[in-house]
């Protein structure tokens, strides 16, 4: 790999997003999600199961206070480790930990979203709330740096005894992500120092060498978090720890066997759920829990870049290709089975039983951005954009008040209610979850979306995603106008002079067959890997105009995808469309889309959302009195009537109550 191609994301403080689309999403997060989340992690949401998150931190703080006071005489009162997920019996709490064992991350994800939000919308009161919470969190940290309240409260002797299933390193990862973000947003380093000390503690306990355990995370994230810490601090030790986690993973003898005292192996593919069945450089198929997988791959890409490790990059590319070309839904969703929230086998992409967790699409965005940091290739940005506008945003209602974990591509509400095989598919977004991973993950992703839009290096500012706003790179300032994802016209105005030649690199979206450009005179222009490189000595006010025409497209699947045989999906620009019952009536399976028929795209405003509706010619089989007819009859040509299919963006589905939804529609001529 060539370091000249590397680029890094801009600090969010240097980017302002002002366009209608993303600004609205970010405002939802700021005004709805963040306040709700704060109440949730303080157990102040009436009717919702308490999180116990801040309570656990305070309780751990008491334990630590006592430890400090008693010194050598400290003897911990212990509680059984199996009490997570337990609500207090009869409402009576004792000193134990409550909630899920990764409940600490309710706070650390929240503070990360807060940090991003503060860069776009300063809010001293919110910052004060966060500062106070950070004090409580830091007060819980042990003197030696350990900071996971589940073990701090219940049994400190059991720290790092179940890396496979428990989530200490996962909690560490989110703590670090939040701490780095908060430092970058506010300059305050209290939480950052806590994260560093926790990292140092981990490095002292895990790894090779005397007195250490050769363990690694059961749920990955620490790898990329450590790399963020490394990128910020330049401290080699954090890179070393991340690299160790990645290199050690899946080697034999399996650490998870050792940890669990197993002498009898569980079968060749054990630990594929955790991507720990073989060393990462030998992995050639994305497997197991999809969120864990993409979090791991993100960390791998980070380490590959930082260490210029070709074999690790190769593994990233192999896994990327397998995922994107054999295991990804057309919406950018990943994870085709709810069993293990996992990838299924190649080309197995059922629409109605999909898992396609919101967090998995978010992790795919993480992975894609990191691949872009190594080398700008439009394919990475295409997938990143696809996931953001579809598989990620579908996780949140238009009012920011309810959420999907699971993002199916076809829904029959009756099945969700009556068929246990589809109980994981919710026919309506949920208010909040006891295991609240997706909503706060959405919050931190949406509020930091600009960090996926731009990366830079000494010579080039890369524009991967188009969104209106301003960007202040190290060598150039620019303002961008865009009405993505509804219109493909973009203009980029240079807002500063450059003394040297400097390059803007614009991604040419894979979804447009051709595009138009208007480039200032004297510029050197090159197309490479799906990017348009425009180089010149820039004068303030010079403008580049681009137009990426957004046509309505009918997509077909690779013929090896059985579930989509004979079907088409509708896409326009980066936005995938779907049919809903609210627009098209019940029994969507009776409709067909005429692939040679007329189709129109029209601006629409509904449910407080400005969007483009697609209408397409279709046919609908007449149902007649089907309920009175027998189950089977001699085939005869179906009686059909012409219809207009009304399609809305997939991310907008299910904002009008329960109803059927379908992305892949049977095709007809």
């Amino acid at each position: 790999m060539d370091q000249k191609n590397f680029s890094k994301p801009l600090s969010l403080a240097k980017v302002q997003v002002t366009d209608a689309f993303w600004k609205k999403e970010m405002e939802l997060v700021r005004t709805e999600v963040i306040p709700y989340q704060w109440n949730a992690l303080n157990d102040n949401v009436p009717g919702a199961a308490p999180s116990f998150c801040m309570r656990n931190y305070r309780r751990a703080g008491e334990v630590e206070k006592e430890r400090k006071a008693k010194g050598d005489k400290f003897v911990q009162i212990k509680y059984p480790l199996d009490t997570f997920e337990t609500l207090p019996k009869d409402g009576k709490m004792d000193g134990r930990f409550y909630g899920f064992l990764f409940q600490d991350t309710d706070f650390t994800k929240w503070v990360e979203a807060v940090a991003y939000s503060l860069t776009q919308h300063p809010d001293p009161e919110l910052e004060k709330t966060a500062d106070e919470a950070i004090e409580a969190v830091c007060a819980a940290q042990r003197e030696d740096g350990y900071l996971d309240t589940y073990y701090l409260i219940n049994d400190q002797d059991m720290i790092f005894t179940n890396l496979k299933d428990n989530h200490e390193l996962y909690c560490f990862g989110h703590l670090t992500e939040g701490a780095v973000a908060y430092y970058q947003a506010t300059g305050k380093d209290h939480l950052l120092k806590a994260a560093e000390r926790f990292a140092d503690f981990i490095a002292s306990k895990l790894g090779h060498g005397e007195g250490k355990k050769a363990g690694y995370p059961g749920h990955e994230i620490a790898e990329m978090a450590l790399m963020r810490l490394y990128d910020l601090t330049g401290e080699q030790k954090y890179l070393d720890l991340a690299k160790y986690f990645i290199d050690e993973r899946g080697t034999k003898p399996y650490y998870y066997d050792i940890e669990r005292g197993l002498t009898c192996p569980e079968g060749a593919e054990r630990y594929s759920y955790n991507q720990a069945n073989r060393p990462v450089r030998q992995q050639d198929e994305v497997q197991g829990h999809s969120v864990r997988a993409v979090y791991l791959y993100s960390g791998m890409a980070d380490v590959a870049r930082a260490t210029q490790d070709e074999s690790l990059l190769k593994a990233c590319e192999t896994l990327w290709n397998n995922m994107v070309h054999q295991k990804m839904y057309v919406t950018g969703g990943i994870g085709a089975t709810h069993i293990g929230e996992a990838f299924s086998f190649n080309y197995d992409l059922p629409n109605d039983t999909a898992y396609a967790e919101t967090c998995a699409s978010i992790g795919l965005v993480f992975f894609a951005r990191r691949m872009l940091e190594i080398q700008a290739k439009a394919e990475y940005a295409d997938v990143m954009e696809l996931a953001l506008y579809n598989g990620v945003l579908s996780g949140m209602a238009l009012d920011g008040k309810s959420f999907f974990y699971v993002n199916p591509l076809e829904v029959l509400p009756e099945a969700c209610h009556k068929d246990e095989r589809k109980f994981h598919v919710k026919p309506i977004r949920q208010k909040w979850f006891g295991c609240a991973c997706c909503p706060p993950n959405l919050a931190r992703t949406v509020s930091s979306v600009a960090s996926y839009a731009y990366t830079e290096n000494d010579t080039t500012l890369f524009v991967h995603l188009y969104m209106g706003g301003t960007v202040e790179g190290e060598k150039v300032k620019a303002s961008i106008t865009s009405e993505f994802p509804w219109d493909g016209h973009v203009s980029v105005t240079c807002e500063s002079d450059t003394k040297e030649p400097y390059t803007f690199a614009f991604r040419i979206p894979g979804w447009c067959a051709s595009y138009e450009k208007e480039i200032p005179k004297g510029a050197e222009v090159e197309e490479k890997d799906g990017y348009l490189y425009v180089t010149k000595v820039w004068a303030k006010g010079e403008t580049i105009r681009l137009n990426f025409p957004m046509e309505i497209q009918f997509l077909a699947s690779n013929p090896l995808v059985r579930e989509d045989a004979g079907r088409v999906a509708v896409k326009r620009g980066p936005v995938v469309y779907c049919m809903e019952e609210a627009d098209n009536g019940k029994n969507l399976h009776l409709t067909k889309l005429c692939v040679n028929g007329e189709k129109t795209a029209e601006a629409a405003d509904e449910l407080g959302e400005h969007f483009v509706r697609v209408t397409a010619e279709g046919r609908r089989m007449k149902l007649g009195d089907a309920e009175k007819q027998p189950l089977y009859h001699l085939y005869q040509k179906e009686e059909e009537e012409k219809t207009k299919l009304k399609l809305i963006p997939y991310y907008m589905w299910n904002n009008r109550g329960e109803g059927e939804m379908q992305v892949w529609i049977r095709a007809c001529e």
Copy 2:
């Protein structure tokens, strides 16, 4: 209902089946299944998990012997009741019960199949083996009549304390079915008396009144078994007990709540798995475990007939209609979900995740025959025939050596191996099962198939199914030639004179649009409810000739069946067809069947089976180098090539190793 319409099945001793099709199946059962089964229930199959069935009977016999010897001083050594399914630890057995808790039925189903087989093929050695086994079984019976080895061995104090989950009444039911059959075949009543004494014991403990529990079976079958005992003996008490079970079922307060000491109800639909969520006369949707359901409905039909209970018959009809018109696969399979081995919601009939248990189709045959006994309507016989030739027979390999529990309508072996959602679907028939319900159920059904073919009453001999052989009714003898299911020509010759006018009633299969008949002169002919009634004073040698043309038919599903939209199934006569990979290559989902194309039916001999192969014009999408292509691309008209689809009878699938299979094929013009 009109008693004049009633008819009853003929004793198997009065019917000989000689045609090529069924004779072969019966011979398989006689020469392969019955001997294998005997070895299995005696733990003599190398490599297979032991059944422990006969061992348990012998062990229970020892306990009973001790009880008799010690009288009042008898104190049972008890074993925990949760040890079923347990193999002996380290191979060391102690005195406890081993195997599944319904393992007694391994013997009782076997002896039933033996009984039927003896009627068609006397075999003194087999009869002697059975007689000896019966002695061992009867020796285990308690003096008061109780006979279930699980409780006899492990803890007699716990008898009838868990009717919901444990299977005492199920074991009783199979014991009774076997006992009646063995008595009817051999005239020997040792086992029959044991069944009667067990029935008497049950009647003394369950029911209304002082000292009784108001319980009923968790897994139904006792109802129809008691009715068989009643029909044989004429003893009112057996009818009363069957009627009690049916009337009490699902009434409130729920017995299963009482039995389990539950004060907090589990939700409105609790016990729908057991068809015990509401009184049977209020049930209007077939629900829960499909085998249990059809066993119950069979008992209900028996009791409705015997008591001329119109409301009970109405319930049977309602449930029949719901099942047949909203929840039955085109193969006569029932039970669309493996979760609870149960019915799914109306019109939910997924092909690839189907359960469609062999035993459920067998139970459907039971139910249909019982409805026919009340009134001969072709719909019942059509479904009975459909299930027999397809959903039942598909459960057994052509060599009688391996078996399916689950009978899917579409199989991709890779999914069966890799996708946990389809782990219940086996891509290849299994040798035998620890929980061996389907193979012995197949054995007893196939070897008694003639009892589904004919019923009679004072005026009429009904021919519901066509199979070659002879039948000796109470008033008439006849011989039948038939090459069903491959050819629709049937001739029936009267082999005796009748003094009075007598009627032959022939079912006119629903699958033929018209038919030909050649009737002796002077006969009165009437068509009613799909039966052709031919009445005259018969002279020996008079022959009726019928021809039910077997055309290749393309069937479509009711449009409410989402999974079959745009697809057709192929049927010829009563036989449903499928495509297999062995004939049509991989990726069956790429093929389409041309509904207006040519189609041919040709006699074939393969795998030792004479059958009719269907060939139909089709198209196959070209796959090209799909594995190198992206997952999604702009739609373009699929490149297709013409092909001939080769179809084989569904029951013959999977006799050439693992491979794809598909019943519902995408249709094209």
